[in-house]
Amino acid sequence: MRALVRSSEILHGTLLALGLVCPLALFFHKTLSFENTDIVALFSSPAIYNATLNSLLLSLLTALFSTILAFVFSWILWRYDWSPRLVRALSITMKTPYLLPPFFFAMGWIALAAPSVGYLRALYPDLPSIYGMSGTVFVMTLWSLAFAMIQLQVFFSQFPGHLEDAAILCGASPLQTFFRITTPLARPQLVSCFLLVSVSSLAAFGVPAMLASPDRAYVLTTRIYQSIKSDQNFSQAGWLSLLLLVITIVLLLLQRLVMKGRHAAALVSGKASRPAVLRPSFHAKSAMALICFFAVIASVLPCAALVLQSFLRDRSDVTSISLEKYIYVFSQIPDGWIALSNSLLTASVGTIIATFLGLVTAYGMARLHLRSSSWMIEAWNIGFALPGTIIALSLLVFYAGSITDTLWILGFGYLIKYGAFSARTLSPALSALSKELEEAAWMNGASPRQAFLKIVVPLLKPAIAAALLLAWVPMLSELTISVLLVGVGTETLGALIYRLQEYADPGAAAVLAVVVALATLILNGALRRVSKGSFGI
């Protein structure tokens, strides 16, 4: 088994070296050695200054709003005596956006609230336009709410509820326990969640490209894209990437600092437990109504708008329902099938490699305690934290003239960015599996490899399925890396949907988005059923 782990580590290390370390090193070396770049002029230009400010605003406001809303909503759902069905339905509805790329929600909101063509704008003409920085923050907040709720769910599942009970018995009201007991104990998790959401929002490309750029508001990622695609200014793209990287690193270091040694803070006294549930008061019921409203605007409305748009022959006429767009996309857009097959191929191969490496590396770390395996997982986490724009640019520079315009470079990019999902899912699952189950196999004559294949792998089947799904879904409709790396014949679903939405046919883009979303939701449902609710959303 050790030999298998070692040989897969060689493969893993080679992939990381060729996909992450060397490309990044070369990219930044080239950036720093560009001559004739007036850095002071570059960073003091209003355009770059605004892009940086917009990026920070987008990142921090999105993180602030989504973390606060997610915490309050999670507490209300956890603390009061609601119907379990209602809680489950709301929880699933609010977390579902995490399964889909954020730019699908931007497309949904364009269909709903774009000037002149938005369905909601037809009903409420005074509704503000979705374009601009405020619309971008709004959509990113709604999407990040799902991410933040998933993060905070872990906190509430481990929170000793009797701490709230003790406060209630001391005469505190539920609201007082929330502010004086639960919130202070949740502070490290809240700060960590805030920083993780801000890193993810800082790296966002699709939503600002669709909602902010049309209003001539740019963030760093869209400015980098513009520098490459329109201005052909690699030096500027390099320096902006460096700036983006520095901000990302600062946020991640802060997150690590906040969480260092703080895991136990929320688990101050032993076992997790539910507090005695409270009967909903008038205020709690009002808050519940607000949660339902947010579930509708975060999930139901944009998805429904996308579905409706995919069935409309004429975008501005909601009665023109037909299958015309579906027939058109799959029979008359030659790129449609190419994009579908390319995305399926790269996502599937990338996912299988990521899951295999993730499983073996997680085994090396959890069972054999190999330091090299921990490093591999750490390097993968760095890849995950890096903005996709930087990964794509560094690959472009490193592989210039060789594998650019092939699916290899896309696969590399996806693997570096999303490979961490596999190890992140499998590592805790493997740690949770009692080592004695494996030792019992050894004591019954099985070699370590036989024990791994006959005992560990079958017991990890649900986690392996989850790892496959979690890596496959973002790779299938990936946008940020794809828009920079696709070439002739290597069109992907994400890039094609973006191109159709921005320049050609939003209805056709909606068709592809609906197909991808449907496939994702069906797979997620199947995974939940197979794992009896342990995995999936």
């Binding site: 004695e436 030792e439 196999a441 019954n444 024990a451």
Partner: protein, 238 residues
């Protein structure tokens, strides 16, 4: 087969947990390792099993040297059976498949596997439960399956790591009697870890008392009770 442990040592980092332990278990004998939590008894058992690599000393089973400074036989090549404290039953395999596992690994013909599994199921009084999954069994039944799986491969030695500690008092008493008769009927050489002195007194041919990684005294229950080596033993066995 006879088990011989000689000058066995184990350290985790700079902390010694087993310090120069020497004892033998004769063929067909049941020896218990008795001591308080953290005294190193489970570590000794795991070193005999091959699940931990000793820092020093030797382990023989029969004429075969399993472990010394230069050589180490991995657990799957030792032919030793073990019952874990948690039972370690594989939740994805039925009772039948749990017990059949060692025989499948040894590539026995299917008919032989079927016959042997039925035989050991009879020995532990679990006929009729072969197609159940572990979670469908009571604690006592799970414990019997763990024993059945350990003896299915006809091990040279059977190791038991506090196998009764998860059972209630009444069931523990019943299982003690059953283990005793099973050991006698099958003439098993057994090394048994427990912190329960009553269990040790009832089951053992000889008992070895450990404290802080050192073997303090080994002898028959009567010897140890009547002539404790020091105050610790006297107090512990009281």
């Amino acid at each position: 087969m006879r088990v011989k442990v000689e000058s066995l040592r184990k350290s985790f980092g700079s902390t010694p947990v087993v310090d120069n332990v020497t004892f033998t278990v004769e063929e067909g004998e049941l020896v218990t390792l008795l001591g308080p939590s953290g005294c190193g008894k489970t570590t000794v058992l795991r070193m005999v099993a091959g699940l931990e690599r000793p820092s020093g000393g030797r382990i023989w089973v029969g004429d075969r040297l399993f472990s010394d400074e230069k050589s180490f036989v991995p657990p799957h090549q030792r032919g030793i059976g073990m019952v874990f404290q948690s039972y370690a039953l594989w939740p994805h395999r039925t009772v039948f498949k749990n017990i059949a596992f060692p025989l499948e690994i040894q590539k026995h013909p299917r008919d032989d596997i079927e016959a042997r599994v039925r035989e050991v199921l009879g020995a532990v009084a679990l006929e009729g439960l072969a197609e159940r999954y572990p979670h469908e069994l009571s604690g006592g039944q799970q414990q019997r399956v763990a024993v059945a799986r350990a003896i299915a491969q006809k091990p040279t030695v059977l190791l038991m790591d506090e196998p009764l500690s998860n059972l209630d008092a009444k069931l523990r008493e019943q299982m003690r009697r059953e283990l005793k008769s099973l050991q006698r009927d099958l003439k098993l050489t057994m090394l048994y870890v427990t912190h329960d002195r009553l269990e040790a007194l009832e089951l053992s041919h000889r008992m070895a008392i450990l404290d802080h990684g050192k073997l303090i005294q080994i002898g028959t229950p009567q010897d140890v009770t009547e002539n404790p080596a020091n105050d610790f033993v006297a107090h512990f066995i009281e």
